[in-house]
């Protein structure tokens, strides 16, 4: 080929050709990830490679926090100490009552041969960062499959439910918050036992009860706890408080806005609950033709 141009004019394919190649590759990846979930293995590998970078990026904040702790004033410490002592006393009283009740309860349950309902053990994890994807509500914590975290485990803090583990890497885990648009928690009204589904809205600090008839008895200040019928969340964990009830006869359902009880949007520590659903599985599809609603995602 003596007519080919000298090598210093060779520039490879035209930009448009390259763009087309990238476009096809990206779309193939998008479809195989969104539709078929083929790429979780690759994601795991790349995530392991990225782990040092993520730790490096989160190091400055941890360092700042430690420097801040160093400069705490004595009066602040004293105030906190007094407050904690008071709280400890109150807790001790509650705890004694609780111990007695738990003993009695266990005895009764043994008598009834009922299964244990409450979570056995929890795993302490620290929030590394909030998810950067603006389309979802997620946080990333510093415990992963190496620490025994599994996808689907519920996550709580000292005040209530935060969300559930949705993606596990070797040293990190991604938690979808209850405020995520696609997340739903089956709940029960503590005041009257009404069951409902609590869905996220995609904005922090705002949840909505879904498909509640206009005449259902929900009032401002009602506490909602998990009902446990989904098999993901153990029953009885506090989730949210009703903050606004709007009944408009023009709509089919009442619009009930709730406020999460847990610090969903705050940094800090969380507990990953090690809970296995010991409830009997529902009968197989063949036995009972599915007539109800399609199963909800994430709930």
């Amino acid at each position: 080929m003596e007519y080919s141009p000298p090598p210093f004019f060779k520039r490879g394919p035209a930009p448009l050709t390259r763009l087309f190649l990238c476009f096809v590759l990206s779309v193939a990846l998008l479809i195989s990830d969104a539709r078929y979930k083929y790429l979780d293995g690759i994601r795991q590998v790349v995530a392991v490679v990225l782990y040092p970078f993520e730790r490096l990026a989160t190091a400055p904040r941890a360092l700042l926090g430690r420097i801040g702790e160093f400069f705490v004033t004595q009066s602040a410490l004293q105030t906190e100490n007094t407050r904690l002592a008071e709280q400890n006393l109150q807790n001790a009283a509650t705890l004694q009552k609780y111990r007695a009740l738990a003993g009695e309860n266990q005895h009764l349950r043994e008598l009834l041969a009922a299964r244990e309902r409450f979570p056995d053990s929890t795993l302490f994890a620290e929030v590394l960062y909030t998810g950067r994807d603006p389309f979802t509500r997620r946080i990333v914590v510093d415990k992963g499959s190496q620490a025994g975290v599994r996808a689907g485990q519920p996550v709580i803090d000292d005040a209530g439910v935060i969300g559930q583990v949705t993606r596990v890497y070797p040293w990190l885990a991604e938690i979808t918050l209850i405020t995520d648009k696609e997340h739903a928690v089956p709940v029960q009204n503590l005041r009257n036992g009404l069951r409902a589904v609590l869905g996220g809205t995609g904005s922090d600090g705002r949840l909505e009860l879904k498909f509640i008839p206009l005449n259902a008895d929900f009032q401002n200040g009602d506490r909602l706890v998990t009902s446990g019928i989904d098999g993901v969340y153990p029953p009885g964990l506090p989730v949210a408080e009703v903050s606004n009830v709007e009944r408009n006869a023009a709509f089919l359902f009442a619009r009930i806005v709730c406020r999460p009880l847990a610090g969903v949007a705050s940094y800090g520590q969380v507990l990953i609950v090690n809970w296995e659903n010991k409830a009997p599985q529902p009968p197989a599809e063949e036995a009972t033709p599915a007539r109800g609603k399609k199963p909800r995602r994430g709930g």
Binding site: L19, C22, L25, R43, V46, F53, R132, R167
Partner: protein, 173 residues
């Protein structure tokens, strides 16, 4: 007009590939910083900004491979759909490479007016992909980051050009 032409034609040292790689990785780590709250809302996508800068300044050295690869890394780091950033950055790299002669002709202010629409287009591609995949529109605040990135463009240009400015020779009279 005259003064600007002279300034635009100052002779710079050739850029080192290691420096390009360093800036891209640094931008990636800045993206990974634990942003939260209001800062997260106005956070520009630094990787997109740096990729665009190098595609405009050095289209022979930085192109689709870097843009696509860093896009994939961003996808894994964000836990978003595999390929959404890769696609958006590829389009950004294409725009940078096609427009690089044109953009460099303009003053800094007019360059910003080129950069902001390109970054907004980058956001729109990601938004379109997520809408197709079933997500909700997250509100117009989603686009603030790109405008902030446009405002950072002159700073970025000044910073990334530093290693290329020749040192004055003290022996030269």
């Amino acid at each position: 007009m005259q003064a600007r032409d002279v300034a635009a034609q100052e002779i710079l040292l050739p850029v080192k590939p290691a420096f390009i790689a360093f800036t891209l990785i640094a931008a990636f780590i800045v993206n990974l910083l634990p942003w939260s709250g209001a800062l997260l809302a106005i956070k520009p996508d630094f990787v997109a900004l740096v990729v665009l800068y190098w595609c405009i300044q050095q289209p022979r050295k930085v192109g689709f491979a870097a843009a696509w690869g860093f896009g994939l890394l961003m996808d894994v780091a964000d836990g978003s759909l595999f390929g959404q950033h890769a696609l958006a950055y590829s389009v950004l790299a294409f725009a940078g490479i096609v427009l690089h002669r044109r953009v460099l002709m303009f003053t800094m202010r007019d360059q910003i007016l080129h950069v902001i629409p390109l970054l907004l287009a980058n956001d729109l591609i990601v938004l379109a992909i997520r809408r197709i995949a079933g997500a909700e529109f997250p509100g117009y605040a989603y686009f603030i980051g790109s405008v902030v990135a446009g405002a950072l463009w002159p700073v970025l240009c000044a910073l990334l050009k530093l290693p290329q400015i020749p040192k004055p020779d003290p022996d030269h009279v």
